[in-house]
Symmetry: C2
Subunit: 414 residues, 2 copies
């Protein structure tokens, strides 16, 4: 790196930020990546940490370890509080940081849609502490149910409500059902499995809205076969920690609500002084630049881009491609070339529902059941970062598949 | 189990309690094991979790999973608050529990010797949250040191003090040194390794007091070779979070003090209404029964037993043998046989200091260096509970050995 190199600061080490940093590895810039965590998290497998199948360390890797070989790279563990676009300066917990280029990829957080009781009593699933909290909570419910004399209270402790019929909710419900019916039944010989209920509540009349109808129907059937009560047009009004109340007036006694109903842009979007649209996302130019700030790129879940009149979804593949694209446009700027507009190459979606069961609509192929499940396994192992993580996750999966086990069912804190 | 079976309640799922429960598997009693955690922890490897070498789930296993096949076994996740010996009843967070036989094996906690500033600012190492706290703290110190402009403060952030020259302190200091000098140096290319200091403070003039002199000397030499400043007759007077003050008046600027200077009986000992001796341990009969309460056995770190005029050490092998012995004496009682006195079969001690380096004095063999290190590896893998844990720990060790890595270096919370 020459002393005169420009500095490209990237905010957030998620899929977008990490891929932007990597794509700049041969660019004549000094890359500085900021995150409040020291690791990159493979969020698509977070629900498996929440259901005791994987250990947190197996789906996360320290950012410094990932980008260790990249000469022009530096990492800083700080929290970003705001941006002074005029001065090209970030306000962070570690003091001010100035930039020549800025890539904002700070991502999203759980969207409780202003439901205060859910913010307080519900369980989101966006980061490692969330997942460990769900694992501890579910296992503690079983332990407390075993000590409970009142059958009504016992059943409430064994009622698990998952809200949201997107891929996260579907995968969470499926994994929870298998954790309970294949593994925990062996741990609790005195458990009456008829006391256990898992509900998947979806506000619309469709699960996995991005899938073709045939696969959506297959998913619903598979969920029912796994003893999950799938409820459509079920809108949650309130959860006081003891009972879930629906808009319809229905009341479900339950101690556990896992909220997978949506995400919104991370709070930093609110401190940028810009007008945010739906889900707190900020519209950007087709080049991913912020309007009026050509040196600033806003990518991933925090940015709003439309294609064919539809907003791009808040998913990892969009963030990955945007990160690579922002990096390319930074290089184009340095070379005095014209910037390119972003085009999303949609490779489809997958969701697994458990052993031998998944739905896949990828690379132009529609599949379900065992074939889709194998595709799901392969694609996730390939995408996991680091050979060691791949190896340990594969070993864990193989073990659990053959022995009907879940190794990580520890209650590590309250 | 016949309806009329007597109930043996065991408090604590550590080495003592777990082995008592196992040894009662064919006894005509109903075994109820109580613990506030749902897992048994292999404490001898806890320092490797603290130094990012192992993941917590790899050295812990749910109690229900360990004893799943045992017909006369039940587990309850409760906290024990006291015992009414006259009524043969425990007071627990899950209500009262009555017993015919009681095995108290509630273990020990970190002993800060009344040093309030250390209780507040020091880092103990007795359970998983302790270990994760040390890991997070050490890694955060490195991240913050990288952001620090003042060289004095930066050096203080990179100064790590381990207090206590027993096996835990020695292993902790060695593992910390290797984490920093073999792994973190690669993560922090701008780190000046001369800014890093590790001190091992011992209050007496001897490390590893239970070892023969030849091996103690070898251990000190090995620690120095690993750039650890071993200090004898160094008694800590105070630690305010910024500097350690010794009784001698010496002041060491440091942000990290890991306290491995000793343990004392867990608080429950104080609620038993009995007279406790040194380290809060309660003297018991040679049969391990509580004086005046032949149906109550007190074992492990919480009990005080002398042999040849010396108290038995507070270590895992003593607790394991006591657990098995208490179970045998319960069976003897049921059969109307005479109870046996406990005799500890001391198989020696081991301590590892890092790659290819350990000292061992076991089974009548004295060894150091590579040979002792291989013995240490083998003995620990054999003792770890569960084939899966053995496999994953072995894989982790092999990987770290050949690639000079530590996979678990995540900062998972503040």
């Amino acid at each position: 790196m020459a002393q005169a190199d420009k500095v490209a600061v990237i905010v957030g080490a998620g899929f977008g930020g990490l891929n932007a940093a990597r794509a700049l590895r041969r660019a004549p810039v000094q890359v500085v990546l900021l995150d409040r965590n020291n690791y990159h998290l493979f969020q698509p497998l977070l629900y498996q940490v929440a259901t005791a199948g994987l250990e947190p360390e197996q789906i996360a890797k320290p950012v410094r370890a990932i980008l260790r070989g990249q000469k022009n790279f530096d990492f800083r563990l700080v929290e970003v509080r705001g941006v002074d676009f005029a001065q090209r300066r970030l306000d962070t917990s570690g003091g001010p940081i100035t930039y020549d280029f800025l890539v904002l990829s700070h991502g999203s957080e759980t969207n409780f849609f202003g439901l205060d009781s859910m913010t307080k009593n519900g369980l989101g699933l966006k980061d490692i502490p969330d997942a460990v909290r769900i694992r501890n909570h579910v296992l503690t419910c079983f332990e407390h149910a075993m000590l409970e004399g009142d059958p009504e209270i016992r059943r409430a402790k064994l009622t698990f409500v998952v809200v949201g019929g997107g891929p996260t909710g579907v995968e969470m419900a499926g994994a929870l059902s298998e954790l309970i019916r294949l593994v925990l039944v062996k741990d609790y010989p005195r458990l009456n499995i008829k006391d256990v209920r898992i509900l998947l509540l979806e506000a619309t009349d469709t699960l996995l809205a991005a899938m073709p109808e045939r696969l959506r129907d297959a998913a619903v059937k598979t969920l029912w076969r796994k003893w999950i009560e799938v409820r459509f047009s079920a809108v949650v009004a309130d959860f006081d920690g003891d009972r879930v109340r629906l808009k319809s007036g229905e009341v479900i006694p339950a101690r556990t609500v896992i909220w997978a109903a949506g995400v919104k842009a991370a709070p930093l979007n609110g401190h940028l002084g810009l007008t945010a649209g739906r889900q707190g996302r900020i519209p950007v130019e087709p080049t991913l630049q912020l309007q009026g700030h050509p040196e600033v790129f806003l990518i991933g879940d925090a940015s709003y881009v439309e294609e064919n009149g539809e907003p791009l979804p808040m998913v990892a593949p969009v963030a990955i491609q945007m990160g690579q694209h922002a990096a390319r446009n930074i290089v184009n700027t340095l070379r005095g070339k014209a910037l390119q507009s972003f085009r999303y190459r949609d490779q489809g979606t997958l969701a697994t529902i458990g052993r031998n069961a998944a739905v896949a609509n990828v690379f132009g192929i529609q599949a379900r059941g065992f074939v889709a499940w194998v595709m799901w396994l392969g694609i996730h192992i390939i995408q996991l970062i680091g050979f060691r993580n791949k190896l340990f996750v594969l070993l864990n999966w193989a073990w659990d598949y053959f022995f009907y086990e879940r190794a990580a069912r520890l209650i590590t804190r309250d």
